[in-house]
């Protein structure tokens, strides 16, 4: 286990380095730059700015400098948000996204898993078909449609829920719903199909023959065997959801990290692009490692080597 972890950490560093390198290269191939704007800035001023941020140096030198700094935990200053470091922006924005996203993850788990189990248990009935229609809707309808429809009915027509900001629990309802719709539906479908598989297994017949109740049978014997696909999905899903959705944050005016990704790319805020990408990559790598460890806890047949 210790050896395995060490191997994974080394691999994680290599993965993050590869992501950083590719992003750095791609970013520099995109035309434009951080200091272009409608207002003409004098060439002298542009040159001075570029010199300040080291953008006048050759590509390789900038790349090596960036890597060196990043390894010391210094992700540089934002090129667009005057005077703020990339780390400070991420540490200010991430908690906001993570809170909304975290609630959405919890909701999708707490709803998706039991509903999937129920759909499998009641296969072929009206409940099953209803759930399956709802799940298909949740997967097919894009989040911006969900957001705007929710906003129109609950915010504008009924005036029940506030449409912007994040100041009370009521503010969370619509964004969380919009964020959780897809993962809930997806988890429900995963859960249903793997549960159907497990319900047909011989050991489920054994459980019944022992005289166990349906509840114990389903939630003790079946669930633990059927949950693996959901755990696989959960790793990347948690990373993406906690980091924040650009669309949902934009529509509900949530000051989260999701918006920063797009803002950084549009503004060619090079250091910010690198910072957010590396942050997401690192988060993802950690989540995947956690998924692997959780596997071994849930299914004793899986051994990490």
């Amino acid at each position: 286990m210790g050896k395995y972890l060490l191997k994974r950490v080394v691999l994680a560093v290599v993965t993050i380095w590869a992501v950083a390198t590719i992003t750095f290269g791609l970013m520099n191939m995109v035309p434009g730059g951080p200091f272009l704007s409608e207002k003409a800035i004098s060439p002298a001023a542009t040159a001075a700015l570029e010199a300040k941020y080291g953008l006048d140096k050759p590509f390789i030198e900038r790349y090596l400098t960036y890597l060196g700094d990043a390894m010391h935990g210094d992700f540089g200053l934002s090129l667009k948000q005057r005077g703020r470091t990339v780390s400070s922006i991420i540490s200010a924005k991430f908690p906001v996204s993570a809170k909304v996203g975290g609630i959405a993850v919890l909701v999708s788990l707490l709803l998706g898993v039991p509903l999937g189990v129920l759909a499998a248990y009641k296969r072929g009935t009206a409940i099953d078909s209803t759930f399956s229609v709802l799940a298909t809707l949740g997967i097919a309808v894009p989040s911006f449609v969900i957001c705007t429809v929710l906003m129109y009915f609950f915010g504008v027509k009924l005036r029940l829920l506030p449409t912007l900001g994040l100041t009370s629990w009521k503010h969370y309802l619509m964004p969380v719903f919009a964020l959780a719709a897809y993962p809930t539906s997806y988890i429900m479908r995963l859960m249903r199909s793997s549960m159907l598989d497990v319900l047909g297994q011989d050991y489920m017949r054994t459980a019944k023959a022992k005289g166990l109740s349906q509840g114990v049978s389903l939630f003790k014997h079946a669930l633990r065997n059927a949950i693996l696909p959901v755990i696989t999905y959960l790793g990347p899903m948690i990373a993406y959801t906690l980091v924040g959705s650009f669309i949902v944050e934009k529509i509900f005016t949530i000051p989260g990290l999701g918006g920063e990704f797009i803002k950084a790319i549009n503004g060619r805020d090079y250091t910010m692009i690198m910072g957010t990408t590396i942050f997401l990559a690192a988060f993802m790598v950690v989540m995947l490692l956690i998924v692997d460890i959780v596997y071994t806890i849930v299914d004793p047949r899986i051994k990490l080597k």
Partner: protein
């Protein structure tokens, strides 16, 4: 009625059980008029080919009939319970407690994600009010009983860490945890290799001596029933076509199917070039069973009436009976030879 009396006398009393699977393709009549009785401690073998209804009969006794199967007629009495009338929660009291079962494939019958100990203790704690520690003690006792060494260590192991024979022993331990009145063994050795097979059967017989439970042995291995069972029910197409003591079935078979089965057993005393005699043909299509005797199309001595009408039951003594027109004919010939009225054909 006399129901109470029969309940006292018999552990299992199944009368005219009819069970069908309602599939999209139509009704599959899996059991047609199955009747048999078992005394306490008796060992009954149910033999027959795949799809003849052996397992379905046993499963219905435990309420394990798979969807879309449904009991549509007859009565099943077990240990004073009228199985037909039991609610799901009443059934749960019986399952694993008064009647338990060992399945065919020990490799897949244990839950892979829980330890052996957990799976044995679970059933003990469900049906008794033993504490966690007492249940663990009992589990250890059971593992020793089924001949597993180092029980302490095994309790902490997962199914995938044990061999097939070992897992079947664990299944037996689970089945015997609450000292059931009846143990159903559904082809318990089919998935095991021959040496392990012998060990498991020996173990079952030994445990029966010790604990005195009745056993229903479902198998298509006639060798097993010959050595283990007191009574044998031969099933074909959802019917018990012949029922009798082991001696009746092996030395005095009456039904053509039973005779065929016995002819197809390899014998040690066979001459060198003697061939085994297979039963020709294929099993009946249970979706469209024939009007007459289901075995008629494969029977060497098939008569006209066999294709038209189901034969009535012919009793030879209190135990031995069969459902075959040939025996009916013999009886008929005997009675007409004796002289009296011939009755219409």
């Amino acid at each position: 009625m006399t129901q109470e009396n029969t309940n006292e006398k018999y552990l299992v009393d199944i009368r005219n059980e009819r069970l069908s699977f309602f599939t999209p393709a139509g009704e599959v009549k899996a059991l047609n008029d199955v009747s048999f009785k078992m005394k306490e401690g008796e060992v009954l073998g149910i033999v027959g080919e795949s799809g003849s209804g052996k397992s379905v009969t046993a499963y219905s006794l435990m309420g394990l009939t798979a969807y879309p199967g449904r009991l549509i007629g007859g009565t099943i009495d077990f240990n004073g319970h009228r199985i037909n009338d039991l609610s799901e929660s009443e059934f749960r009291e019986i399952r694993g407690n008064e009647v338990s079962i060992i399945f065919q494939d020990p490799m897949t019958s244990l839950n892979p994600v829980y330890t052996i100990g957990n799976q044995i203790e679970e059933v003990i704690r469900l049906h008794t009010d033993k504490s966690k520690d007492e249940a663990r003690e009992r589990a250890k006792e059971l593992l020793t009983l089924v001949g597993i060494n180092e029980p302490e260590k095994r309790l902490k192991q997962y199914p995938h860490e044990l061999s097939g024979g070992m897992r079947q022993r664990v299944m037996i331990a689970i089945a015997l945890a609450c000292e059931p009145k009846l143990l159903i063994a559904d082809e318990p050795t089919t998935a095991l290799d021959v040496t392990i097979q012998a060990q498991i059967l020996e173990l079952m017989m030994e445990l029966r001596e010790k604990l005195g439970m009745a056993i229903i042995m479902i198998t298509h291995d006639l060798g097993i029933v010959a050595s283990m069972c007191e009574k044998i029910a031969v099933m074909y197409a959802g019917k018990i076509v012949e029922y009798g003591t082991t001696d009746d079935i092996f030395y005095n078979p009456k039904h053509e199917y039973t005779k065929g089965l016995i002819r197809s057993i390899p014998r040690l005393d066979a001459k060198e070039h003697e061939r085994l005699v297979p039963i020709e043909g294929t099993p009946v299509d249970m979706l469209n069973p024939p009007a007459g005797c289901p075995f008629a199309p494969r029977c060497d001595n098939c008569m006209k009436i066999c294709l038209k009408e189901m034969p009535p039951v012919t009793y030879f003594d209190d135990v031995h009976y069969t459902q075959c027109w040939l025996n009916q004919k013999e009886e008929f010939d005997a009675s007409s030879k004796a002289g009296k009225e011939g009755a219409d054909e």
